[in-house]
């Protein structure tokens, strides 16, 4: 019984495997180490955003400001990352701090005012975009130090730094969600906020924490993006929030809260990445790519839900 439940939870994993299998038959390049290195590098930024927003979505919230945080954090970091200006840690901390700050602001407003997270984070999304433009004066911030650029394009022992960071973040977020008190509280708040409060949980603190985590990770994503494209773009990250949220939801986390897993999110991220990659590999015309992408996303989730039903 328990076993079946586990399997059911990872239904999307099965769907994902089947899709991979099919693609590997059509495209011989698909199942190569080099291609998978590319896929995983490509998804790393979306993955980190998705990990963060998984916490938020499990509490029943949403964070639309991710993309703007990416821009603000990226621009802030880039401004401090010119060669011979500051040690590497300074721009990195600045980026993370910017993300944390906006995230905490989201959490604070949401808990103090009881306004829907949708509208608050939509507000910060707009504000954040404006801030990024103001900070950078509307121009890309370039001329970044080699050490900063290394984060996004370097390799350690042959493994891209991005992949290493992705793995560390996945483990970290999984541990927080599954093994810590905060993680337990996150599920409790999302599952039944009032009961959580009546159980003595400080719901406001938990919410501020999840939006802060989401902001912090978006800040990290901003740093990684900036480093990868070697410039802090004030208009970077637009629409990233939808990709991240899509990955989370495809991974089985419910938008009504209380349910979800990091592993699911990772699979959701990979699924999107694999589809993107293989549509390019198979040279599907750009316009049709979008149609196919949409169909596969809906299809995958439909298959997954059918899978649930047949198990019940």
């Amino acid at each position: 019984m328990h076993y079946i439940n586990k399997l059911r939870q990872y239904g999307i994993l099965i769907v994902f495997s089947i899709i991979c299998l099919i693609i590997s038959f059509i495209s011989p390049q698909f199942l190569t180490v080099s291609n998978w290195t590319i896929i995983i590098t490509q998804v790393s930024i979306n993955a980190i955003l998705a990990f963060g927003v998984t916490f938020v979505i499990i509490t029943g919230g949403i964070d639309l400001s991710l993309g703007s945080i990416v821009a603000v954090a990226g621009v802030s970091a880039a401004m401090l990352a010119h060669p011979d200006s500051y040690p590497l840690l300074v721009p990195v901390f600045a980026g993370l701090f910017a993300g944390l700050l906006i995230g905490a602001f989201n959490g604070f407003i949401i808990t103090k005012s009881k306004i829907a997270p949708f509208i608050v984070t939509l507000g910060t999304m707009t504000i954040g975009r404006g801030l990024a433009l103001i900070l950078s004066n509307g121009r890309p911030v370039s001329n970044l130090s080699d050490s900063f650029v290394f984060i996004g394009s370097g390799k350690i022992l042959g493994i891209p730094v991005l992949i290493i960071i992705l793995i560390i973040m996945f483990i970290l977020c999984s541990v927080i969600l599954n093994k810590t008190i905060l993680g337990r509280y996150v599920y409790a708040v999302g599952g039944n906020e009032q009961a959580a409060r009546a159980s003595g949980i400080n719901v406001s603190q938990v919410k501020i924490a999840v939006y802060s985590i989401s902001g912090l990770l978006a800040g990290l994503a901003g740093i990684l993006l900036t480093s990868r494209i070697t410039t802090g773009q004030p208009n970077a990250g637009a629409g990233f929030e939808l990709d991240a949220i899509a990955a989370v939801v495809i991974g089985g986390t419910s938008t009504t809260g209380g349910k979800g897993s990091m592993t699911g999110t990772l699979i959701g991220v990979l699924l999107i990445g694999v589809i993107n990659n293989s549509l390019d590999l198979l040279n599907v015309t750009s316009y049709y790519q979008q149609v196919v992408m949409g169909i596969i996303i809906i299809g995958a989730v439909v298959l997954d839900s059918l899978n649930h039903k047949s198990n019940s």
Partner: protein
């Protein structure tokens, strides 16, 4: 730095990977169509992907091309700086790369296109002439922070410095969008009314939006509108006299030229390292031949 053995002989089919800025932009679609026409003629295979205006996506696409071992890459950069790693990656992987339409900071193997700053200069020069070096201008900008927006603004401002009588009374983004530009222009008409003498829009879509707003307000004949790209609608509008001028960017030459260059590189033939295709200002008198092109 490409080794001789990589050069394809005449019988082998050449595969060119192309990453385009945005296949939702008419001008870019035109370039891509010209590429396809030329490739058919030369017998090259194209893999065209859409970067959807994201430099990150563009880098990823170049990585994919490298993994697929295409013979040449053509890059239609999203950004001057941000798309540079894409060029570096290709060069590092010993795959020649040709930039089309706009430049990157890192020098590619070859460049085919025009300088966007120049288009801003041309447009503003026209306005300056029409107004006799004196008057109030509003500028409708592209999406803030994008290379085309920054460079077109830069070119326009360079000219304005030469004409102290020209005053920029308002500037605002309409995000390359016709409807947004129309809204913006309507609002400006409310606050500035007849003070506005000329409009410079960073692309034709926005220029046409401004024209529509001015027409609705019955002010079109008093205000000069100039924009950039020379898309089909804009040419029509210039012919009708609605739009005063548009700056022609030669999609045909850019598309065909980039494929030709890429082809030459792959075959190991002589090629031009920088193929500059000039802009051209089109006014009512000279649009006819361009209308036929479409």
């Amino acid at each position: 730095n490409q080794s001789e053995s990589d050069k394809k002989n005449d019988s082998e089919k050449i595969v060119i990977g192309i990453s385009m800025l945005s296949m939702q932009n008419e001008f870019i679609v035109n370039i891509s169509d010209e590429m396809q026409k030329k490739a058919e003629e030369l017998g090259a295979e194209l893999i065209i992907v859409d970067a959807e205006r994201s430099p990150l996506k563009q880098i990823e696409q170049i990585e994919s091309f490298i993994a697929q071992k295409v013979d040449v890459i053509i890059l239609n950069p999203c950004e001057f700086e941000a798309s540079s790693p894409a060029v570096t990656k290709a060069l590092d992987a010993n795959i020649p790369i040709v930039n089309v339409n706009s430049a990157t900071k890192v020098q590619p193997t070859a460049f085919v296109g025009s300088n966007d700053v120049e288009s801003g200069r041309i447009a503003m020069k026209f306005i300056a002439e029409k107004l006799g070096g004196k008057g109030n201008i509003v500028m409708i900008q592209g999406l803030n922070g994008q290379a085309a927006q920054i460079q077109r603004e830069q070119g326009a401002k360079e000219i304005m410095e030469q004409f102290p009588g020209l005053v920029m009374i308002a500037q605002q983004t309409a995000e390359w969008d016709r409807a947004k530009s129309m809204d913006l222009m309507q609002n400006w008409i409310q606050s500035y009314g007849s003070k506005i003498n000329a409009v410079f829009a960073h692309n034709d879509e926005m220029g046409l939006g401004a024209v529509k707003a001015l027409q609705d307000a019955g002010m079109k004949d008093k205000v000069i509108v100039v924009s950039i790209d020379a898309i089909a609608d804009a040419l029509q509008a210039v012919k009708k006299g609605d739009l005063d001028a548009t700056v022609f960017q030669d999609a045909r030459k850019q598309g065909a030229g980039s494929i030709e260059t890429a082809f030459k590189i792959a075959r190991g033939q002589q090629f031009e390292k920088e193929l500059l295709i000039p802009f051209k200002l089109l006014t009512k008198g000279d649009v006819d031949p361009y209308l036929k092109l479409n």
